[in-house]
Every structure is written in C-alpha cells, then in structure tokens.
Symmetry: C2
Subunit: 440 residues, 2 copies
C-alpha cells in the first residue's frame, strides 16, 4: 500500500525530532501502522540540514500555506507553536479536508473548541497527544484508557522547567533566580521564561486534561495560575522538615459546587510517588472512581520525546485511514503479517549482575577461594558484605553477600557449581539477579 | 441510538465489578462512547445478587454457550478465567461474528495467536486491556501511545500479590511464609498461590507485553520463570544495605542476539521510581528509543480496577461500531453534544490546606495574636515551626512556619490580611497550598 503523505509545518526542535524519528524507525512504524508514513513536503523559515539526515529528499518551502493547500497531503502536522498563524493554518487544513496532528497546547487550550467544531463539520481528525506531557501517552490514557471512570481529580507535574528548578532548589539548596539562570544556560528554560515559571504553560495543559477528564468545554481563562518565583530555598527546606515536597502542580477536581482548576506551587506528602518525580520529568496522577489512582510518568518535553507523541498520533490517524474499522489497532501492536521470529534467548545467554548469598564456614581463606572461582569465570565483584550469624544459627556459619558486575548467566552458573562444591560452603548459594533499569 | 448489547460471561469478582461500574457510571460512559452499553444477558454458575444491585433486570443463565450463541449479543465479555471453556467460548463468539473483550491473561498468553487469527478471519475485534496491569491502560500505551518507538526494554511489577509479600517482608522484617499466610487471610492471595508466587501469572503478562513491544508472536513457553519463595527477609535487608530493593520483576529486553524474557526476583537501585512501588500496586517501566523511559502505575488487580479496563475496551469497541472512522474517539473524550457546563470555581471558593511563612518580630505574644486571627476564621493549625533568623538577616526577625488543616481560601485570605496588619509581622505572608493527593 502507498505510504500516507504528511505535510510537516516547522523543522525546529520538535519538527526536527519528528522527521528524525520517522526516518530512523520507518520500518517498525510501517509494521505497526500497516503502511509507511512519509513526510512528502515541509515548511520552515530556516533549518539546520546537518541535524536532519535525509531532509534533502524532501521539498521544503518557506510558505506554510502552500503545504496546507497541497492536494497530495493527507495529514498536516503543525509544529510551529503559538497562536497565529498556527490557528489559521490548522483551520485551512481542516477546511481542505486534511487530518491534523499538533503539539500546540496554547492553540488547543485557547482555540480548541473552534478547531474541533470545524473538524467535526469537515469529518477529519485532529490529534494532539503531544500537547500534554510530551511523550507520555496521557491524553490517550484519560480519553480512552479511563473511559469507564467518573474521574474525581487529577494532579500533574506538567512543566519540566518548573520541576527542574524546584528539584535543584531542594537538592542543592540554591535560590530560584540562580537555578533559573542555570536552566536557561542548559537550554531547559527559554530566554523569556514567563510561560514556564508563571505557570501559563501548565495552565494550558491543565485546561486540556480537565476537559478530557470531566467532559467540559476548554476554558483556559478560568484557570487560576500562580508561578513559582516567590518560593525560596527556605520554603523548600521547611516543607521538607514537615514531611513535604514543593511541586508546581496543575490540579483539577470535581466538587459538588463545581470544578477546581488551578496551577500553583503545592506541598505534597513526600511518600507519594508523584512527590518523587524530579528534574525535567513530568507525571500525571489521575483518580478514577473505579480504577483508583493511576500515574503516568515520562519526559514532558524535548525533541524526540515530543516527537514520540506526534508520531503516535500519525500512526493512529493512519490506522483509521487504512484498516477496516474492525481491525483498527492490531491485536499485538504490529500488523499480523509483520510479526518477526526473533529468537528468545536461553537463560544461559542472558547477561545481568548478581546478588549471591553464601553460607560460609567462618575461617581464613574462604573468601579467597570464592573470589578465585569468580575470577576464573571473569566475574568481577562490586561489593562484599560479611555478616554476623543469624540469631539461633550455628556460630561458625556466617552469611557472605556478594554483588557482582554484569556477566553471562552461563558463567555464573559454572561459578556457583564450583562454589557449592567447596568444603567451606555449608548450603546452596542463593542467587538473585540485579537490574539497574538505567533510565538516565 | 440504541445501546449496544453485551453478553457477560462470569459474575465473580471482575464480572461483578464490571456490572457495577457499567450501572453506576452509565450516563458518563454513554457520554463518552456515543451510546449506551448494556449488559443484556449474563452467564454464571452462581452469584451474590446483593452485591449486584440491578442484576434482577438481567436474564442470567448457567449456560455460557447460550450467551455466545445469542443473535442479539454484539459483544461478548469473557470473565471466567482459565484455559477451558474460556478458549472454546471465545472462539465460538468470534465464529458467530461477535466482538470479544477478555481479562484472561492465561488465555491470551497461551492461545492468543490462534484467537487473533480467528478474529482476523471473522473481521471482529478482540480486546484484552484488563489482561495486564489491571486498570492501568498499559496495553493501549505500548500498542498505540508508544507506536513511534523502537522499544528497547520493559520491566514490570505485574503481580500484586508478589509485590505485597515483598513489601511486607521489607517493611515489617517478616518471613515469606508468614506474609503469604496473611495475604491469603486478606484475600490478596489465592488458597493455591502457585500462579502468583511462582511467577506464572507474571509470565503470562510479560508474554503479552513483549509481543506488543517487539512485534513477535506470543511465546509463553519461552519465558524463564522463577518465584519468590526462596527470598528471605535477610536478603531483603542485605539488599537494602547495598542500596537496592527486591522486586518480582517481569523483564523483556531486545539484544543483538535475541530477546530476553524472564520473571524472577530482582534487585533494583532504590532511587528508581519503580523501586518505590509498594503493596499490591503494579507499575510498568518502558524504555523507547525516542521517548526515553515512561512509567505506568496503578492497581493491578481487584474488582473495579480490572472492570475499569474491561469497560474501557467496551467503550473502544462501541466507538468503532458507532462513529464514522473519522471521529472514532471524540477530541475531548466526551461526545461534542455531551459536554457539560459545570461551573469552574473561583479561587475564594476552593478548599485546601496551607503552608504559611511569616516574618515575625521575636517577642512574646506574637504567636498568640496570629493563632487568634486564624481561630477567628475557623482555621485550625496542624504544625508550627519557629526558626532561627537566616544568616545575615536582622536577629529579631524570625521566620514562623505554619501548616493548617483544609479551609476555604476566602477565609484564609481574610486571615492573611489581618495577620499582615499586625505590628509584629515584618513582611508579606508567603502562602503556599498543600494537597495531600490522598490515594489510599
């Protein structure tokens, strides 16, 4: 089947990320969507071709309206941002019968009601997963995944810049102004940080989430919005002393009298998972009457995380355009004829780190024997703990705990066999695996 | 539009929860789905009518096959569990042209390839969000939300019973057998706990997640599965001393040689968010090449959390059956003509707890004046901290920190106005809001 033709407006951070993800994962994306997704035309005032390998094959114009008028384009991706001309471009694309994908939270929060009405009339789709929480599929979760629930409240860390600043204030005991300057140097904060630190960006996102949760029209102008500029490092420290963390929270709650919609610095008990979401990461905690609390965590900004959501929307639209409705989303995520027969590894072949607990006779030379056996198998040791015998256990038998660096399981099995054969080892070796789950 | 007719197989824990959620949230669910979703017939060997208000209006048979053959039923919900007769019922329903929703992970992990092939032939949908992670919409997240990514690995705490046992062993220093007995008393563990503590249930779920992530056929028999029965409270304590938590993890990773698929007790660095998922809660951490790490957290079992996922699938199927493809999911989650005009509250009307930082002159009677003003407004105090002056600040001016119980913001504003008018208060009051985000 022919690839679907996409017109891309904007080749900046998110536009460039979207182009690169579509290029790099083209095969895998087509296996999921049922056909290729191709940027057939793009519009940008200027762009850095070195960051965009393959862009030379795409006609790039400076006239975004030429793309939305192009009869060959089926889906327009708006990644320019801001209110105008984004609004006009999106409305023109819809009028021309094109589906639209956008990451523009300001546009959706402020003009979404108008845009969705136009899309309804024209019978086209408008998708905006990237508008909230970057790469976290939280719009899909609230709109589809939690559709059974009366949603009672939701709370989100939905501005990475603000969370980075508050995290640094806490971790390093530094003041707001100092951390803001650093965030600007690192590129986490804009030269004009108003949208982030005053909470306007978070209010845009909260507007969207509240509509999805409660079934109300978008009402950005009703959101109470307070920034984090007046929070001092002393407040962060006092809050900690009281058992709380300060987070810039978007909060929406259904009450008998009406709906609360507010963005402000908020003290949260430190034992909550969301209180431990740090740095530029985002998380949204949603309370439903049936499901209880669920939480969605991930990168809320950045080129490729945001592109991840944009491309997910492209796949959604492509699946609807392509498949019969009875098979909109393939059962196993990839199309049935696109499953692969990749071998599943035997455990001997996997590689991981290990925790070993040995029962050793407490006499000289035991540790030397054990470490020699490990060394012979090329296994290096990260930590050793020698413990007192447990109350009630024989006094000459002591637990020895070893933490190893990663090694193939086959080698570890051979080492354990030899260790268990030692006279000085008094029981089977307990072997647990260690995974660092390194996400940094 | 007429409601869609659902045949419900099973009225046990999850079946009863599904019935109750559909009854209680019927209006809201119809606002989202575009039409009602009605249990028009059910099958159960026996059931407790007192737990199921409204069940008297539904014809209940003991013959599940009668439901599957009923020409009025459009969607069959299979909540019987186990391999047979669930497999035969699902295949019969598909052969009869009915869509299927199931929560049965054993069935999907073991017979999914056969079931999906049959569904593809018959042109019907088979949905199974409830099969992994209970109410967490993680199948939707991996299958649709992360469709842009080459998924590199995923790690899940996907058995609540196992996580409850390990959490109790750590928190209370108790042994496996003792905690298992308590879990059985509390109803968290079955009388035969094999599926949970041996990792078989987790292996079923990992099988499904790995297929969605990597585009491979379901291969339950290739999962390496190790239980938690050999983990002692000493291991839990030693791991903690080394900076780790022990979790029963399902882990799938793509390597150059093939795919690792394994369930075993695993040490995880304690600073990872997933290491802090405790009790019966589930969480799945997914690493994509574009989005980076994302995490999905919530209740992995229980009547209404699982029902939340079953009903979400029913809404998905209903939306596809009902709407033109161009508008499968409404933009704002609820149908455009079903949005409500609920008032958004003014900030004066919202209720929350507060953190106040006062600059007070350090002399007798100041605290009495402040607490009297708060008392006059009906504001009660949870904690007071009086701090040393900051280095460099005037020595007679000291910060006083107050934490209040929840109160309406209007009252708090009046109190702050009066506090700021006191001679003994030397600066504006810093006021931050506290949200407990109570999820327990």
């Amino acid at each position: 089947m022919n690839p679907v033709n996409v017109g891309l407006l904007g080749l900046g951070t998110v536009g460039g990320g979207t182009f690169n993800v579509l290029q790099r994962n083209a095969v895998e994306i087509a296996r999921r969507a049922g056909r290729g997704i191709r940027i057939s035309r793009a519009a940008a005032r200027d762009y850095d071709a070195e960051r965009l390998p393959g862009i030379e094959a795409v006609p790039v114009t400076t006239d975004a309206f030429a793309v939305v008028e192009d009869p060959d384009i089926q889906i327009v991706v708006e990644l320019i941002g801001g209110y105008e001309p984004a609004r006009e471009l999106v409305l023109r694309a819809i009028a021309n019968g094109k589906h639209v994908v956008t990451a523009n939270k300001a546009l959706i929060a402020s003009h979404g009601n108008e845009i969705f009405a136009a899309a309804g009339e024209a019978g086209v789709m408008v998708a905006f997963e990237a508008a909230v929480g970057g790469g976290i599929p939280v719009i899909k979760a609230v709109r589809e995944g939690l559709a059974a629930n009366e949603i009672q409240w939701l709370a989100g860390i939905i501005n990475g810049t603000g969370n980075f600043i508050l995290t640094e204030m806490r971790d390093k005991g530094r003041d707001f102004a100092e951390v803001l300057a650093e965030a600007q140097r690192l590129g986490y904060a804009e030269a004009d940080p108003t949208f982030d630190v005053e909470g306007i960006d978070a209010a845009h996102k909260l507007t969207i989430l509240a509509s999805l949760a409660f079934g109300i029209p978008l009402q950005f102008d009703k959101v109470y919005t307070e920034g984090i500029g007046h929070v001092t490092r002393a407040d962060v420290a006092y809050a900690e002393e009281l058992g709380y963390r300060i987070k810039h929270l978007g909060f929406a709650r259904r009450t008998a009298a009406g709906i609360e919609l507010r963005v402000h610095p908020t003290l949260i008990p430190e034992r909550r998972l969301i209180a431990n979401v740090n740095g530029v990461m985002n998380a949204i905690l949603v309370m439903g009457d049936a499901v209880g609390p669920t939480l969605y965590y991930g990168a809320g900004a950045g080129a490729e995380p945001t592109a991840s959501a944009v491309v997910a929307d492209l796949v959604d639209v492509t699946r609807v355009l392509t498949a019969d409705p009875g098979n909109r989303v393939p059962h196993l995520a990839f199309q049935p004829d696109a499953l692969e027969e990749i071998p599943i590894l035997a455990m001997d072949a996997i590689e991981t780190a290990y925790y070993l607990r040995l029962c050793a006779v407490d006499r000289p030379g035991v540790l030397a024997e054990v470490t020699r056996i490990l060394g012979d198998q090329g296994i290096s040791i990260e930590a050793i703990l020698q413990k007192e015998p447990f109350p009630g256990a024989a006094p000459e038998r002591v637990p020895v705990i070893l933490l190893t660096h990663p090694v193939q399981e086959g080698r570890m099995n051979r080492a354990i066999q030899r260790i268990e054969a030692l006279d000085s080892i008094c029981d089977r070796v307990v072997r647990l695996r260690v995974e660092y789950l390194d996400v940094d």
